[in-house]
């Protein structure tokens, strides 16, 4: 750049910015609100999708699951796997893994004296199951299973309705053993749970793992090992170790490959955030361009003067861009501050139960927890600065290409 040092350019830009207080303040307000909207809405959307994903993963459950290679295509009792061996057990002892459990999971039919329903029978280890997926607070009647040899059965409230049965009553659960014989067993209902999603209540029934293994003549085999690490986004950090330890005889998959719908939802969300940020920016950019065009237009004569005195056009361009950058940076600082300031008090959750009724099908619950992600903030800031400067090039270019004499004589 010829001549003018950055300090002088900044000073000129700063003074020029405050020449028209009103216009600059309006533009600053627009940038601030725009940036706030970008970040705030993104946090809400992220919160919503996080919630859907978490519920979805909860319904799986376990962010990483190990199965017999054919189990996912045909979840029958023949596609079982042995209980975790020593290598896998020690691999699951890394700090990233917060909990794991193994379970039997087979299709079954449950019958009361009134009705029968197709369900998924889970044979679980209660102590570890509650750490991975089952929320004890959802038990509304009776209790959850006590240990893996518990002979009781826990079913959903909706299921109890459908079967017209109740706590303490007996039901029969029927499935197949590995020899394709009918395997059935009577259970007493010891607990009823209410799931966040009504559909889950009608799908899963819980029995003790050993009890179910005995019923199905499975020996020690289980259908799956489910492993949880706390944060579903960071699964890739510890997935590899587990995969290695589990070996090639089984299939070890992260949640986003088990449920590709959930996986693609996360990917879609990233795209959606980008589109949202750009849309807000487009709205902003009109104001920004307009402000700069006006600012340049008002200053035609002094821009001509600067050129006449020997300031190169590139320096003029640089100066106008700097003005735009200043405006953007102040707006960004305010916008970020306000966004953080409004999101943090809401971190405890926003009650959206009024509108949540209809959204339950989509997998959301009635509390919305805004999720402020550093990456989203960085993205919003980068987009505003980069696209902001790009849109400023046009008016700046116009200013730089004035003929100094014509510009000086403008009235």
């Amino acid at each position: 750049m010829s001549g003018l040092p950055l300090k002088a350019i900044l000073m000129l830009a700063w003074r020029n910015l405050w020449r028209n207080h009103r216009r600059t303040l309006i533009m600053l307000a627009a940038i601030t609100v725009g940036v706030w909207a970008m970040i705030f809405m993104t946090a809400l959307m992220r919160g919503m999708v996080d919630d859907m994903l978490l519920n979805g993963i909860r319904g799986l459950p376990g962010e990483v699951q190990i199965h017999h290679p054919d189990y996912r295509d045909d979840p029958n009792v023949n596609n079982s796997m042995p209980a975790p061996h020593d290598a896998l057990l020690s691999a699951m002892r890394v700090p990233e893994v917060t909990a794991w459990t193994s379970r039997v999971r087979v299709p079954a039919v449950i019958s009361s004296e009134r009705d029968s329903r197709g369900v998924v029978l889970l044979g679980v280890e209660p102590q570890s199951e509650v750490k991975v997926s089952f929320d004890l607070e959802t038990i509304i009647e009776g209790r959850f299973l006590e240990d893996s040899s518990d002979r009781g059965l826990v079913i959903g409230a909706k299921m109890a309705d459908r079967l017209e049965t109740d706590l303490g009553k007996r039901v029969v659960v029927m499935s197949q053993d590995p020899d394709n014989n009918i395997a059935d067993r009577g259970f007493r209902i010891v607990g009823v749970y209410k799931a966040k999603l009504a559909s889950l209540e009608e799908t899963y029934i819980y029995g003790g793992r050993e009890t179910v293994q005995k019923m199905l003549k499975l020996g020690n085999s289980v259908s799956e090992v489910a492993i949880s690490g706390g944060d579903y986004r960071n699964v890739d950090r510890w997935l590899g170790g587990i995969q290695q330890a589990a070996g090639n005889d089984v299939e070890t998959l992260p949640w986003y490959e088990i449920d590709t719908y959930l996986g693609s939802m996360l990917a879609m969300m990233d795209g959606f955030v980008l589109v949202w940020i750009i849309i807000v920016f487009l709205a902003l950019s009109f104001g920004l361009v307009n402000t700069l065009v006006m600012a340049v237009f008002e200053r035609v004569r002094e821009i001509g003067l600067m050129q006449a005195l020997g300031m190169r056009p590139s320096t003029i361009l640089y100066q106008i861009l700097m003005e735009s950058l200043l405006l953007l940076l102040i707006g960004l600082a305010l916008g970020n501050a306000i966004a953080v300031g409004t999101i943090i008090p809401l971190q405890g959750g926003i009650d959206i139960s009024v509108v949540a009724e209809g959204m339950e099908m989509m997998g959301t619950s009635s509390m919305l927890y805004p999720a402020l992600k550093l990456n989203d903030m960085i993205l919003a800031n980068l987009i505003v600065i980069i696209l902001g400067l790009l849109t400023s090039i046009l008016p700046a270019w116009r200013a730089a290409s004035y003929n100094p004499i014509e510009a000086l004589n403008k009235t």
Partner: protein, 235 residues
């Protein structure tokens, strides 16, 4: 050595249907250290000629040489550099950057040239004092009268003692006392620093100072005479 050589300059302007003659085959040589007045009625082409010499406007045809530089052959960037380093300008009307104070306006060109801060503040202080603006250094143009603004512009034009000063109606907005002071300053700079002055004016007070008086009309030079006894300052 000649400071400025113009050969056969022509310039026309198109205004709607009409073609207006700005310069009509103007040839002129100005010696280094001369003190030249371009006079003539409004519209006679003084500003157009001054702009051509300063590389602010390109003539349709003809050659201009300032020092060793062929001004008519330079591109935009090098022209800007030539104006920056060799010429001091005083324009007819709009001279100052409104967001800068008097001192900052004077320092602006020095700053673009990359002169050190201490040197800048030292010289801008001296020159503002010399043009009689002591104590007003920190005022912005809007807080100065027309004459004061013009003096700031002059201070800026001469602060780095360029080889050539081109001034367009520098006294147009000045009362006669200030005008006289300004002309005295010009003459002094001309005499002591050998700065070449080319001043476009229709102010007879200014013409009296000229060593050489050129009269223009309709884009042509109609007379060109050396003055034997220009008004001078006794220093």
């Amino acid at each position: 050595m000649s400071s400025i050589v113009c050969k056969d300059l022509c310039k026309t302007f198109q205004q709607g249907e009409e073609i207006i003659t700005g310069l009509d085959h103007v040839s002129i040589e100005i010696e280094a250290g001369d003190f030249v007045c371009l006079s003539g009625p409004s519209g006679s082409g003084k500003t157009t000629l001054l702009n051509a010499m300063g590389g602010l406007d390109t003539p349709d045809s003809g050659q201009i040489q300032v020092g060793d530089t062929r001004v008519d052959q330079l591109g935009k960037g090098p022209l800007a550099d030539m104006r920056l380093h060799k010429i001091g300008f005083v324009f007819q009307a709009y001279n100052l950057i409104p967001v800068l104070t008097a001192r900052e306006n004077v320092e602006f060109v020095m700053q673009v040239r990359g002169e050190p801060a201490q040197e800048r503040s030292h010289r801008s202080h001296d020159i503002l004092k010399e043009v009689g603006l002591e104590g007003m250094e920190d005022r912005r143009p809007a807080q100065l009268s027309g004459g004061q603004q013009q003096r700031v512009a002059v201070a800026r034009a001469i602060v780095s003692q360029p080889a050539l000063v081109l001034a367009d109606e520098p006294t147009a907005n000045l009362d006669s006392v200030t005008a006289t002071q300004l002309m005295d300053l010009f003459v002094e700079l001309n005499q002591h620093h050998n700065i070449t002055f080319v001043i476009a004016t229709h102010d007879t007070r200014v013409m009296a100072y000229a060593k050489r008086l050129i009269k223009m009309r309709d884009g042509k030079i109609i007379s060109d005479e050396k003055q034997q006894h220009p008004s001078t300052v006794v220093s």
